[in-house]
């Protein structure tokens, strides 16, 4: 297991100043930033916009090669989906990818076993649904993630009010739990979410499930603005960010983006690792010039 603790550099790593912690999550001192948060902060400090692709774990035999291609093409972190039978936060593209991966035999263990062999230095965050970590037990799931070298976890059906027991176990194992903020989140609640989120803050750019959108929703810039005003954590906008132009647009306000369905659709269409790398390079070009 990789040691998840202290950031490698003493760079400009600051903890978000957090308000009083209410609700069910532990009120203790947050752990020091882990690999995910440190890396993202370092990259941001160097003037770079953060591009984080989402890839469905177990989708095709070559998904680990795709993961490596994404890392090589300049991903700042990679979200790996562990497919769940009932993905309510996902639109048709990721639903299809999840169903296909499950049909091909993907399980949480097969994906974690593969990640252990991935040998990429880019931080990995798994994105899955709460039942898959709750089933095995919080502590066991958290330590299995850590043992596979996973830096972070994103559980879109686990809102901050219910997150306490999981976050406690994840913190103890050194797994950073990324929380989500939505366009409908009121300001006071947003502060609580910011105080509890680790790694980065996932700003949901649009009211809706994952999927490509023709236009960037006005809500994407607005939620990015509100999140940036509320926290010093890296703010990444995801859901409905679909192409280089939209990445550029949202990064005028946000620190970065998560791009899922647009990449997964290409993979479903057979783009393979090379196509994935090229797409990522295209997204990067929008913000690196």
């Amino acid at each position: 297991m990789r040691t998840p603790a202290t950031p490698a550099s003493a760079g400009p790593v600051q903890r978000a100043t957090s308000g009083p912690v209410a609700g069910s999550a532990p009120a203790g001192v947050p752990p020091p930033p882990g690999k995910l948060e440190s890396r993202l902060r370092e990259a941001r400090a160097s003037g770079r916009k953060l591009v984080v692709p989402y890839l469905t774990g177990g989708l095709g035999d070559d998904w680990l090669d795709t993961l490596r291609a994404l890392a090589a093409a300049g991903a700042d972190a990679i979200e790996v989906g562990i497919p769940f039978s009932d993905p309510v936060m996902d639109g048709p593209t990721i639903q299809e990818a999840s169903a296909r991966a499950l049909r091909e035999g993907a399980t949480p263990h097969s994906i974690l076993d593969a990640l252990r062999r991935a040998d990429v230095d880019v931080p990995i965050a798994v994105m899955t649904y709460y039942n898959l970590v709750a089933r095995a037990g919080h502590r066991r799931s958290a330590s299995e993630l850590a043992a596979a070298g996973v830096a972070g976890a994103i559980l879109p059906d686990l809102p901050v009010d219910e997150a306490g027991p999981w976050v406690e176990a994840a913190d103890a194992a050194g797994v950073e739990t990324v929380l989500l903020a939505a366009p409908t989140t009121p300001d006071e609640r947003l502060r609580t979410i910011c105080a509890r989120s680790r790694g980065f803050l996932y700003a949901v750019g649009v009211l809706g499930v994952t999927g490509e959108r023709r236009e960037l929703a006005a809500s994407a810039r607005e939620i990015a603005r509100r999140c940036k005003a509320a926290t010093d954590l890296p703010v990444l906008v995801g859901v409905g960010v679909s192409n280089a132009e939209q990445v550029r647009e949202v990064c005028e306000v946000a620190d970065g983006v998560v791009v899922g369905s647009a990449l997964v659709r290409r993979l479903l269409d057979g783009a393979g690792p090379d196509g994935a790398g090229e797409f990522l390079a295209e997204l990067r070009a929008g913000v690196d010039r």
Binding site: S85, P108, H109, P159, E162, A181, P186
Partner: protein, 415 residues
């Protein structure tokens, strides 16, 4: 209209529900859940962040409406003049003779639209209108909740979209046509097992995108807080009426056993709510192919922590039942709690027993049941024959719906 302060869901908020009037504090069985919507270890609110504010708002709006005499009398008058309440309790003389137990039947099949589902949707549709939401989305299995939702939407002038698995669209074609006649849009769902579970997923996905203008009218005691509590309160009219009706028939006594079928568990929860503080044994009957309490494990799906059929990894399994309304791999969280405390017991019956019970009830009482409550009848038949219910006991069974929607399907299965 003055708005009572919402106490952030704290216990002791402005409630005037029957349980509160009877002085049932939080933590009492079938009283108010905790602030976070827990019944023991079950319940809660596990939804995407986008939906949390809507659930919080709904909990406050329901508390306020439920404590508002104007809202209550509006709902009561619709239940009476539109839905046909109170529904009667029928003595089933010939069935009683055959089984050797005294069978009383609460006749939700006689309510408008043919099932208990109307009680819940009239309440939720009134609430949606009161909250300024002009659109309803609903999931449906057998189509009864979809029909009820479409009906309430037509009555109150709301838009209505009903999600229904493709398998169910096929086996409940009559109800699909009824919903369309009533002006609702029916969207077939082709993902997953293409039954009720997937219809819930799709309704949730719609709601995530439309939450600002749409109310999700959940059809059972499931989903995130406040739904399990709210739907039980809206269905408790079944149990509250039945309690008085039983006392009138039984010289002031309560029945020995109270039985209802369980899909998500709303007709059972409404029935049990009227009897939880009596000595009556409470019995829930699941389909053998969807026995979340019999074969499931604790999990978190569809906004709630409850019991679900799932594999070792936590992937949810498909349920299998001849009854579309019971084809659900989970169960409402309050039932999981009632089972854990032992106050209610839950049993499963096989499809073949259900078909026998369906025919038996038709032939002995002239009542063609829906396949869902035929499960409750099937359990009673088995229990009476095997001594699970003592000879001479009095049993109240909730006939949650009528069989019109199932007659074509049964005809095919029997031919």
């Amino acid at each position: 209209m003055t708005t009572p302060p919402f106490l952030g869901g704290q216990d002791g908020g402005p409630v005037a529900d029957a349980a509160a009037r009877r002085g049932a504090p939080a933590g009492t069985l079938m009283g108010r859940p905790t602030a976070g919507g827990r019944f023991g270890e079950f319940g809660g609110r596990y939804v995407p962040e986008s939906l949390v504010p809507a659930c919080v708002e709904l909990a406050a709006a329901f508390d306020e409406a439920w404590a508002d005499p104007t809202f209550r009398s509006h709902l009561d008058s619709l239940l009476a003049s539109y839905a046909g309440r109170p529904t009667p309790v029928t003595e089933c003389h010939r069935l009683s003779e055959q089984l050797g137990v005294r069978v009383l039947m609460k006749r939700e099949d006689l309510a408008h639209t043919g099932s208990h589902k109307i009680n819940n949707v009239l309440g939720q549709a009134l609430l949606a209108a009161r909250m300024g939401k002009g659109r309803l989305v609903a999931e449906t299995g057998a189509g009864q909740h979809g029909v009820a939702s479409a009906t309430a939407a037509a009555l109150l002038g709301l838009d209505c979209v009903v999600f229904m698995g493709e398998v169910d669209v096929e086996r409940q074609a009559l109800n699909v046509f009824r919903m369309r006649l009533l002006g609702a849009e029916v969207r077939p769902v082709s993902s997953g097992s293409r039954t009720l579970k997937d219809a819930v997923n799709e309704a949730l996905r719609d709601w995530v995108a439309t939450v600002e203008t749409t109310h999700y009218c959940i059809g059972s005691v499931m989903g995130p807080h406040p739904y399990p509590y709210m739907v039980r309160e809206l269905q408790r009219v079944v149990g509250d009426e039945a309690r008085g009706q039983c006392r009138a028939l039984l010289e002031g006594r309560d029945p020995d056993v109270v039985v209802a079928c369980i899909g998500g568990g709303s007709n059972a929860a409404g029935t049990f709510a009227g009897f939880v503080d009596t000595d009556a044994a409470l019995v829930g009957v699941e389909a053998a192919g969807g026995a979340a309490l019999g074969d499931g494990a604790p999990g978190v799906v569809h906004g709630m922590r409850s019991m679900f059929l799932q594999d070792e990894a936590g992937q949810i399994l498909e349920a299998h039942s001849i009854s579309a309304g019971l084809d659900y791999p989970g169960i409402g969280p309050e039932h999981a709690h009632l089972a854990a405390t032992g106050r209610a017991t839950y049993h499963a019956v096989e499809d073949a027993e259900v078909l026998d019970a369906f025919r038996l009830l038709a032939a002995t009482e002239g009542i063609i049941p829906a396949l869902e409550p035929a499960h409750a009848v099937a359990w009673l038949v088995r229990a009476a024959r095997t001594g699970g219910v003592a000879p001479g006991s009095t049993v109240l069974i909730t006939m949650s719906g009528r069989g019109d929607k199932d007659v074509a399907q049964v005809m095919e299965m029997l031919s």
